[in-house]
Symmetry: C2
Subunit: 444 residues, 2 copies
């Protein structure tokens, strides 16, 4: 899968993926197995699996074959749509554990999705939908950036406008809830479901959740009438059900559990019964499936920072980070507080002057709850009132810190006027600000 000059160099040296090679680059030597190159990576780089298990991307300067290896099979997709009345679901691969294969000879887990592979692994997908698909890129979740959100939004829209009746996005889990929030803002007024799906355990582990999650996500994309961005992941510890969580309200709440993804202060849209192969709706207040095109709105400004408020936070943190960014979201304590020291305690340090001067200089500042759950109320205590008075945005909102960050990036892509920013931030576009809190949704 290497192209251009890199492919030429490999051909000339009779080097194939799987060979043991020595790459010399920028004065350093890298010895290991040549791994397949994939789209979305720098084409002048080759991927080498070092003996310590790392895969490194190295600028190709000089390469020597040390020993021939087995060929690593890595087929791109060319599944043709079947002639059937089943709905057409497009699967786009964005990387992550779910789209990973274990290369058993080297023991590496690497993203290597093709719809052909998926149909081979999960033949039941054919009974649910006509599957087409392709790989957009194959990134580790933690490397996903706002630039990638734009690409995913555009590629998703392309599938929908090309008549896909549902889109499944295979994505790494670490930052899936940031991406789902971004897509919720970028792909408003959807005609069909857009379902993000991932796996907490790779497919070589007995406890892998990739089969249940993937099949459930295709079921949701094909059958459900939920024309919203959602995240489909295990609902509990067993392999029976997945939840379809709203894109702006979902959060990864555990490092490793299969049921790590939870709707925050909200019910999931639906439960997907994996065994019964059907959708059980839990709500009715979502956008229904319809016809029409979607116009992706990918105008964002990614120069926004997310900071945590904590005891002893130095005012310089707000100042130095704030002046480098066009917007700031602070995960405040309790109902939306930061150190303000209204009574002049001699040990306490207020960060309010720095926040005020940021806002005065045109940098919007929003607050989100570091408690994760619950709604901000900046009218109860002095600290909240002082923050609100200074122009900090967030009173009455129940957004997560992650969603508030993504929303501010989206808003700053659309306006630079402080009044407009404030108005847009406080407008509910995609379920990120709910009208009322549901007591039964706490920690459930």
């Amino acid at each position: 899968m290497y192209s251009g000059r890199t492919a030429k160099v490999l051909r000339e040296n009779k080097i194939k993926t799987g060979d043991r090679v020595l790459v010399e680059s920028r004065g350093r030597k890298y010895e290991g197995i040549l791994m397949p190159g994939t789209r979305g990576r720098d084409p002048s780089n080759v991927i080498v699996k070092l003996d310590n298990g790392y895969n490194v991307g190295v600028k190709l300067e000089k390469i020597t074959k040390l020993k021939s290896g087995e060929k690593i099979v890595f087929k791109p997709s060319d599944i043709k749509s079947e002639k059937s009345k089943k709905p057409h679901v497009s699967i786009l691969g964005c990387g992550g554990t779910i789209a990973s294969r274990v290369e058993y000879r080297t023991g590496a887990v690497f993203p290597a999705f093709s719809p052909g592979d998926m149909l081979l692994s999960f033949p039941e997908l054919k009974d649910i939908a006509r599957i087409s698909g392709r790989k957009v890129f194959d990134l580790l979740s933690e490397d996903m950036s706002p630039s990638h959100w734009k690409i995913i939004a555009k590629q998703t829209a392309k599938e929908i406008n090309g008549r896909a009746e549902g889109v499944v996005l295979m994505h790494g889990t670490d930052t899936m809830h940031y991406t789902s929030a971004a897509l919720s803002f970028m792909l408003q007024e959807l005609p069909v479901p857009v379902v993000l799906v991932g796996a907490q355990r790779s497919s070589d582990r007995g406890s892998s959740d990739n089969a249940v999650n993937l099949v459930s996500s295709v079921l949701a994309a094909a059958q459900s009438d939920i024309a919203e961005v959602s995240v489909c992941m295990h609902a509990g510890m067993s392999d029976d059900y997945c939840h379809l969580n709203p894109g702006t309200r979902v959060r990864k709440m555990h490092t490793s559990r299969r049921d790590a993804f939870r709707s925050i202060d909200s019910k999931p849209f639906a439960c997907v019964d994996f065994n019964g192969k059907k959708i059980e709706y839990l709500r009715d207040d979502y956008r229904k499936r319809g016809r029409g095109r979607v116009v992706p709105d990918t105008k964002i400004n990614d120069n926004v920072a997310l900071l945590y408020a904590y005891p002893g936070i130095k005012p310089s943190v707000i100042k130095s980070v704030g002046r480098d960014h066009d917007g700031l979201v602070i995960a405040g304590t309790g109902l939306g507080h930061v150190p303000t020291n209204p009574f002049g305690d001699r040990h306490a340090k207020s960060i309010l002057p720095e926040i005020e001067s940021l806002i005065k200089s045109g940098v919007p500042v929003a607050v989100a709850p570091q408690t994760i759950y619950g709604r901000l109320n900046m009218n109860v205590y002095t600290a909240g009132r002082m923050l609100k008075e200074s122009g900090v945005i967030g009173d009455g909102c129940d957004w997560t810190p992650e969603c508030a960050l993504v929303k501010m990036m989206f808003v700053l892509g659309h306006t630079k006027t402080m009044e407009k920013i404030k108005k847009m931030m406080l407008t509910n576009y995609a379920g990120e600000i709910s009208e009322r809190s549901l007591p039964q949704t706490f920690l459930s």
Copy 2:
């Protein structure tokens, strides 16, 4: 309660708390009701309740009485210990909603604790223990700083070494879990229970939780044999039970609910049955009540920052915050990841070089899970291995971001050697790193 020159100026002008005054200070005028001054505040400040409801602390330069008001009664404590066999529990007031009184004439909620007030409000406390107590300070929770933790630790030790058989600390809820973590490290090998307690709703609200929480905390301090730092707050939505949550594992998980405090990846020590006035133990692996003194270890270095990793985080955030601090904790994604971009994706930005250069310059960097729940495992994915290899601390730990921050402050108070820092960080001192994960503790 004003003292020194401030008291003299007030006396000379025949001004009493409750009077309507005009204060001129630093070229600005403040008109409102003169509120009581309290210990722990800058003695040269007066507190004025403005007509908009704010309480402001103003440096006293010139003050004029506009109108006499009713005297605001504000008695300091002088409860004498009763002659009885009941255990002696010392209540220390540190501020927060639980120690707040509503001043009905002005409508202000302000911290105003004295044990006399508490016994007046909750006569059942007399049946549980001989209560003594005093106010240490009366801070809003969000203004609590590492300097205050030291004062609280020393004052708590003073009570214990003065024969208190249990200590209750009334504290604001926003940052109570930071303080409980700090006290867990500073007050190791406790002979008696130290129980932090707060209220989510002030006492003027029908739904206030202050009675149940306070009485339960005194019960726990007097009767339980749990010689640990714990947080006593509502266990559920009803007024029947409180949980005693471990000081290093507790977290405020909701902005406003009375049952916001949860043990993370851990069971609470015990349940306090408010109606039955008894303790129901949920675990047995805690330090038991004994005899002896406690030596507070308040050596900390509060120059540590907590940052969030998120898609698109600029390397400059790590750099600018890192170089201003002696230690850094990053709330990483998933199993403990940050953007590392091992395959040279053209959109992704790695923050690994900045982390590496911080560590090389002697600034320790630790990771904690932004998922809140779950254990870090930096061996599964490339990003984790690269971070671990660079010297980042945290692999295998299940600490919360807040506890990791406090722990690094404590550790840096004891050593400056990177190897020693690493060793201390990875040593379990107070339950902050658990040996095994309990599945049933997720979101419960």
